[in-house]
Structure formats: structure tokens, C-alpha cells
């Protein structure tokens, strides 16, 4: 091995050590009322397969899938405008509007959503705050800028001559989009979708604050186990389970979409 890779190895060793610690903790016995774990056991994994934990995993996957789809739908038109406008000013305006809220930081932004969703600014016909709907809104908003930038990059790589060609062949603007622009932007849809799906699976502050303890995603359950119940072995086991599941899902989705794109 080359010495030039040594710094990378040193950094990666830290990550590996953290994962190893997580793995070790997950195999230690939880002693209620004590921070000191007991001996080796598989009981933690059995415990986190209980219905309330499996339910949280299911809710997380469903919320992440919905977030991905809604973000795609909302981000696409903005990305299209960003990629196709000839005006520098319009481009700057779009970027400022979509990116600016993110310079305020996750906590401030999420508390802003608490105000908006909590009927203080807007009166909602259905309850929003501390429901999955509200969490979904927060998650979509959080994912929008990334999705917009990824889709805009993909769209700007599509030569507008394809759209002209389709129009010359008799395709209306709607058909041009469905038969040419949309299929040609698939690589962006796939990579944007995968990234948003993956990071929503591990979302924490949005469900924590907008869910108000009623909406539990994987990261919230890990925090409950570890910091509220002081069940560190249980938290480690659940985190590992979720990690394995996330990797499996991403592999599956990635493989399916690359088959479609090919």
C-alpha cells in the first residue's frame, strides 16, 4: 500500500472505530437503572424487534418515500426554470429564494415551521403540527434545495435541440415534456431521489420538533432509547438494525433505478 493513502486510512480508522463501538455496545446486556452494561447477549436485537420499534421503521420508510416523491414533484418545475432561463436575474432570484432559508440553520428553520404549522400564522383546515403531515411538510422543505440543484444540473445537460426536434415532429409542449424532457432527466431524478430518500431515513430534528413526540422516526427512537431510557445497548442495536435496513433499501432502489435508466 502506498504511503500517500495513509492520511485517508487514519481518518477512516476513526469512522471504523465508531462503528465498531456501536457494534460492541449492541451486543452488551442492558442493566436497567445502570449505565454499566452486563455481559454479551443477543437480547437487544430481540427487544428492538418489538412492534413499536418495527412500527417506527415502517413509518420512517413511508415518510421518506413520500418526502422523496413530493420533493421531486415540487422541485422539478423550479429546477426546470433554473436550468432554462436565459436571465441571470431570474436565476439569482430562484437561488436566493430556495437557498436563503437554509442559512438560518436547522433549529431556527424548524421552529419557524412550528409557528407556521401551529395555526399561529395560518389557520389549517386539518391539524398539521405534531402530525405526520406536518413532519412531511418540514422534510420536503428541507430537501428542496438539494433536489433543485441536482435536477437543474441534470436538466441543463439536456440540449434544448431535442425539445425543438420533438416539437418539429408534431409534439405539443406537454408531449415534449413527457416523451423527451422527462425521460432524458431520469439520471437526475434517480440521483436526487436516492440522496433525499437516504437522508430522510436518518432525519432527526424535523420529526423531533414538528412531530412533538407523537411522530417517531428511526433517529428519534434511537435518541429515546439512549438518552431518555439510558438503554445504550438497545439504542446501539436499533441504530445498527436501521443502518442495515437503510443500506439494503438504498441498494435495492439504486439497482432498480439503474436497470430502468439503462
Amino acid at each position: 500500500m502506498s504511503f500517500r493513502l495513509l492520511p485517508a486510512v487514519a481518518v477512516l480508522a476513526v469512522f471504523a472505530a465508531a462503528l465498531a463501538a456501536l457494534f460492541r455496545w449492541s451486543l452488551l446486556e442492558f442493566v436497567p437503572g445502570s449505565l454499566q452494561p452486563g455481559g454479551l447477549t443477543l437480547a437487544n436485537f430481540r427487544a428492538v424487534l418489538a412492534p413499536q420499534y418495527v412500527g417506527a421503521i415502517r413509518d420512517t420508510v413511508v415518510l421518506s418515500a413520500l418526502t422523496t416523491v413530493l420533493t421531486l414533484v415540487c422541485a422539478y418545475p423550479v429546477a426546470y426554470a433554473l436550468a432554462r432561463t436565459a436571465s441571470r436575474r431570474v436565476r439569482s432570484l430562484i437561488l436566493v429564494l430556495t437557498l436563503a432559508p437554509f442559512f438560518t440553520g436547522a433549529i431556527v428553520r424548524t421552529y419557524a415551521w412550528v409557528l407556521v404549522l401551529g395555526n399561529t400564522v395560518v389557520t389549517w383546515p386539518v391539524p398539521m403540527l405534531f402530525t405526520e403531515r406536518g413532519v412531511l411538510v418540514g422534510l420536503v422543505h428541507f430537501s428542496m434545495p438539494t433536489m433543485i440543484l441536482i435536477l437543474a444540473a441534470a436538466l441543463s445537460h439536456i440540449d434544448p435541440v431535442y425539445e425543438r426536434a420533438a416539437a418539429s415532429l408534431g409534439a405539443s409542449p406537454a408531449h415534449v415534456f413527457r416523451r423527451v424532457t422527462l425521460p432524458l432527466s431520469m439520471p437526475g431524478i434517480v440521483s436526487g431521489g436516492l440522496i433525499v430518500f437516504a437522508w430522510t431515513l436518518s432525519a432527526f430534528p424535523t420529526p423531533e420538533l414538528l412531530g412533538g413526540g407523537k411522530v417517531k422516526m428511526i433517529a428519534n427512537v434511537v435518541k429515546d432509547l439512549g438518552l431518555d431510557s439510558f438503554n445504550w445497548p438497545g439504542a446501539a442495536a436499533f441504530a445498527l438494525l436501521a443502518l442495515a435496513l437503510t443500506l439494503a433499501l438504498l441498494t435495492l432502489v439504486g439497482r432498480l433505478s439503474s436497470d430502468r435508466a439503462a
Binding site: V161, R164, A165, S168, G170, A171, H175, P183, L184
Partner: protein, 351 residues
Amino acid sequence: MTTAVVELRGCTRDYGAVRAVDALDLAVHEGEFLALLGPSGCGKTTTLNLVAGFVEPTAGRVLIDGEDVTGRPPHLRGLGVVFQSYALFPHLSVRENVAFGLRERRMAAAEIERRVGDALELVRLEPAGRQRPSELSGGMQQRVALARALVYRPRVLLLDEPLAALDKKLREGMRDELRTIHRSVGITTIFVTHDQAEALGLADRIAVMNRGRIEQLGPPREIYERPATRFVADFIGASTVLRGRAVAADRVVVAGGTLHVGGRALRAGADVELAIRPERLRLVAAAGDNVLDARVEGLVYQGAQTEVTARLGDGQRVLVFVGEPAPVPLAVGQTLRLFLPGEAFMVLDDR
């Protein structure tokens, strides 16, 4: 004369402060192969885009079959377009590309299948149907683009520099193929090119464009042999332009010598410009009518001929093609006696 298939009436197109097309009038007739020829930036592609509907005129009307289509979007104009880059859809197979326009016309599947087969046969690409465009050579992609634009029998075929992306050998083959296809289909075709050989070899009529206007419109032979303006004489083929003063209706004094000029009557005393093709000049031994002396400045040997650049007594430059083997040994600095046949002169419009 029958109604024009495509007609532009006073079409102007501005891009900001730049006038790409300037009050252009043009009529293209049934079955005609018309070339829009000119240097880059002359407005030829904008003119094509006005017909296709990709850009709208700032002023003026576009008519197809006598019907005003100004403002009508491209997908409702029923034209076929072949783009310079071909613009074949990369996510569709060759067959799907060709079928695209037929699908938009909601044709029955069996009819689509048959027509796509016919179109691919016309361009000799039957076996490539299942392939992706990226798997084909440039020449094959070009033929797919042509099949895709012809398959639904459009009223007019528009070609935007269709041969520019091909290498020289392929370009010549494709040129013959284009002519053959045009003959067998008989479709009215407008063809944009900056290559005069392409325009001369393919077109029924050529519109030579410059600065958003048509300088001259006519059959290739007329454009080549009787260029109306200095620009056309310069742009089409090589030529030498000589300035002189008319001394009679058919006589011009150039560099101290008198030239008898055929063709149109000149106004005595007027400054005139005469153009002459370098292949029309001949080397002669004796002085006489229409003979001028010139000093050789440059020689470019090209095998079948030598390009000679020479200067007349008053400093005007002349280009002569001397067929090889040359009648006399050629050398820089020597004086050549040139015969300029009167009937070979083209009198240019004063502009």
C-alpha cells in the same frame, strides 16, 4: 406561377440590437430544392427557424401554402426538420426515433410499423432499427434524422447544415444520397449551408444571403456565372475584382489597358467593378486587345493547376489558375501577359 409552398413576406427578426434577418422576401415553389447560402451570421439559420416556427418574426408574415402561419407553434406547422447535430433522441432506438412523428399523429400501430420500415429502407438502414443512435456512425445518424423527418410526409423539409458534421468523403456520399432522396420523394426542401460546393451541387435555386438580406436568388449556374454583387462574386468561387473607368458602353480602362467588356451597356465616365473567374484568364505571348501585364507575386502548385497571384501595373491584384503543365516556366517576379476574355467579365452592381 403556382402559389408558393413557403413564403416569407417582409420578415425581420431582431435579437436585441442585432438584426439577424432584414425585411426578407422569399418564395419557395412546389418540389423545389432551395439553398440558403451565406457566411456564418448572415441570417440563413434564423430564416430557416422562421419557417420552422422556432423563432417568430419581429415584423412580417410567414405563409405555408398561402396560409398565414405567423405565430403558429412549430408542432402545428407539419414540417420536417433535420438539425445540424441531428438531435436524435438518445433514449429511443432508431425505430422509435423514426416512429416519433407518426405516434404524435396517432396512427395505428400496424401503419406505423409499415411506414417506419419504408422510411428506413429509403435511407438503407433497415438492419439498424433496434440500435440506439449513439451506436451508429455520423453518416448513419444523418440518415436516421432524414428518415425521421420524412416518414410522416411533411409539406416541407428543412435541412440545417445537414452535412457540416460529416467528414469530407462521407459528405460527398451524403450529398448524392440527399439528391437521390429528394428526387424520389419530390418534397419541397429548404437547405441551409455555408458551403458553396454543396449549394451549387444540390440546389435548384440558391439564395445567397449577407447581413440578413438576400443578395441574389437564382439557379446555381446563374449565381456562379453572373454574380449580381461584389459580395456574391467574392463568396461564390474564387474571383478577381478589378476597378476601372468606363470609356464607352463596352470599354473599360483598367491599369492603363483597355478591356472590351461584353454584356451590359456601361455609362461612359462611370467607375465600374468587373469580376472575373481565375480559370478564365489565359497566358498569351503577344500584346493586344484585352491583354494586361502583371508581375507574379505568389505561386501555389496544386497538381492539376497552379494558383498564381499577380499584380497589375497600378497595383490591383489578379488571381489566375494556370493549368499544369504550364505553357511557360512560372517564377515569382516574372511578368506574365494575361488575356482577359471580354465575355468572361461580370459587371457588378454599384453598392
